[in-house]
């Protein structure tokens, strides 16, 4: 492994192409941490945004007027404001209003840190889109299918869970794919509230080494690969869930 690292140091000395996150141990650790933070933040947000989408779409079909209004209000609020503004709002406005806890260095710190706020904010942001995406899928399920399930004595929750949602899921996967890809890319915004993800660490490295060009190219490729893996997985899933003759 060290041979490869040293080769990149030589590359820098010979050609001026400076990739310190490969040959410098400190920068390498920073970059690896940044990569893992991005992956972890993406996974957390993907998971919660899909959950929010599923639950939200179900609540939208509720027979209570106020439940529907509440969900619609949530969608409007989060879809019509920029995600960066939401992040700042959660971190600097809501974050400072919450109770504080004693931390291990003897001070008082807010109950939620920057990572938690980024996860919450981005999940809600993508969740708002997911609710609408799932709604489109639910509306695509033929009414006769739902009526047939009702005739068989299924409860409302059972119909949603066992009939509507599985069918809707197959319809919405392409749109959901799009939104989740966007979500992974939006995690770079967490940089603004100092979540140490890839863009943040890259910025730290380029301000120490003044190698902006190299870091930019690296970042572009890194996200290309990261999103490529997600898209590949989603496509496989889409194929695996395919019902012959449906959709």
């Amino acid at each position: 492994m060290d041979v490869i690292y040293e080769w990149f140091r030589l590359l820098y000395q010979e050609t001026g192409i400076n990739l310190p996150f490969l040959y410098d141990e400190y920068d390498r650790n920073r970059m690896v941490d940044g990569f893992l933070t991005t992956v972890w933040l993406s996974l957390v947000c993907l998971f919660f945004s899909v959950i929010i989408g599923v639950i939200g779409a179900w609540l939208q079909g509720s027979s209570f007027k106020w439940t529907r209004r509440f969900v619609n209000g949530y969608i409007q609020l989060f879809r019509n404001t920029p995600p960066l503004v939401q992040l700042y709002f959660f971190y600097f406005a809501i974050g400072t209003l919450l109770p504080r806890v004693e931390n291990d260095w003897g001070g008082q710190s807010p109950i939620l840190g920057s990572f938690a706020w980024a996860a919450i904010s981005l999940s809600f942001f993508a969740g708002a889109f997911n609710v609408e995406i799932f709604r489109s899928g639910i509306e695509a399920v033929p009414k006769s299918t739902v009526e047939a399930a009702e005739a068989l004595g299924f409860s409302k929750l059972q119909i949603y869970r066992d009939i509507t949602l599985p069918l809707a899921f197959r319809v919405v996967l392409p749109a959901l794919n799009n939104n989740l890809v966007n979500l992974v890319k939006t995690t770079t915004l967490a940089y603004a509230i100092a979540v140490p993800e890839m863009l943040y660490e890259a910025n730290q490295i380029w301000s120490d080494n003044v190698n902006v060009t190299e870091m930019m190219i690296f970042l572009l490729l890194a996200y290309f690969v990261l999103v490529g893996v997600l898209v590949g997985a989603m496509n496989r899933w889409e194929r695996a869930m395919k019902i012959p003759g449906y959709g």
């Binding site: 400190y26 600097f92 974050g95 400072t96 504080r100 931390n103 260095w105 003897g106 001070g107 008082q108 710190s109 807010p110 840190g113 920057s114 603004a192 509230i193 100092a194 140490p196 943040y200 910025n203 730290q204 301000s207 120490d208």
Partner: protein, 269 residues
């Protein structure tokens, strides 16, 4: 209009062609003839150069500039400058002298004439809650420390002292995060932190550590003004020797910096 523009360009070209010759005419003569010394100072860097309630430029650096004007026996005029235009103003002859919190760096010495010795210095320190009782840099180990994205001392602070740097885009966000308790401390220029600790709103905070990465500040005159530079060198030595810098620090509420104290001792030996 066009003619006037062309005439302006022609004059500028002529002036720059003549400037080599004009340099020997000496800016000191020009100042005495004009009866005013025009000095570029900061107007947004409390307490080194800032505006009072009626809009006058005051602070440590304007006071130093006044000393120069008094020595020359002329009136003084302050021109507010910012970091991105201060050297250009000097090159263009808009100001005669620049005292504007400028860090003395070799590449800057190619553009303007910085007389030795340095008149001031600032380094890196932290702003933190008094109740935390931090006393040395090692105390920052494994604690979250706010910083500014792109500041050169972030890496040093985390590499040498094990602090976890939480870097924000601007100072406002960093101060706000410090106040909210997201970080144990804020690592920044000591000269700016000193000003914060004097702010009643930050009364619970202190600058507890020994300043590191000290970088000297240089005042500057235009290239080629050797006589003026020589005079300024003598003045700076005089400021250090008589303790004028220390006196001004006290006057403007800055704790005496180690640099000013050391220079004072050096020239009194």
């Amino acid at each position: 209009m066009k003619n006037r523009f062309l005439a302006g360009v022609a004059t500028t070209l002529l002036a720059s062609a003549l400037s080599v010759a004009a340099a020997s005419a000496d800016v000191l003569d020009t100042i005495k003839e004009r009866g005013t010394l025009i000095v570029g100072v900061k107007a947004d860097y409390k307490p080194y150069g800032f505006l009072d309630t009626s809009g006058n430029v005051i602070g440590i650096e304007p006071d130093l500039a006044k000393d120069v004007a008094d020595k020359l026996g002329v009136a003084i005029e302050y021109v507010p400058v910012v970091s991105s235009n201060r050297m250009q103003f000097l090159e263009q002859g808009k100001i005669d002298l620049m005292i504007a919190t400028m860090t003395d760096r070799p590449d800057r010495r190619e553009v303007v004439l910085i007389p030795d010795p340095n008149y001031y210095s600032s380094g890196t320190n932290i702003l933190s809650l008094k109740s935390l009782g931090l006393t040395e840099w090692e105390d920052l180990r494994n604690k979250p420390v706010c910083g500014i994205q792109g500041a050169f001392y972030n890496k040093a602070t985390s590499q040498n002292y094990g602090a976890e740097i939480v870097a924000f885009k601007g100072t406002a966000e960093a101060y706000s995060a410090l106040k909210a308790g997201n970080c144990a401390a804020f690592v920044y220029d000591d000269s700016a932190i000193v000003a914060k600790t004097n702010d009643p709103e930050w009364a619970d905070y202190e600058m507890p550590l020994q300043t590191i990465d000290d970088a000297p500040w240089g005042l500057a005159v235009a290239l080629g003004e050797e006589n003026f530079a020589q005079m300024m060198s003598d003045m700076i030595i005089d400021w250090h020797k008589t303790g004028r810098i220390l006196e001004l620090e006290t006057k403007w509420g800055v704790t005496n910096t180690p640099f000013a104290k050391a220079m004072n001792e050096k020239y009194n030996q």
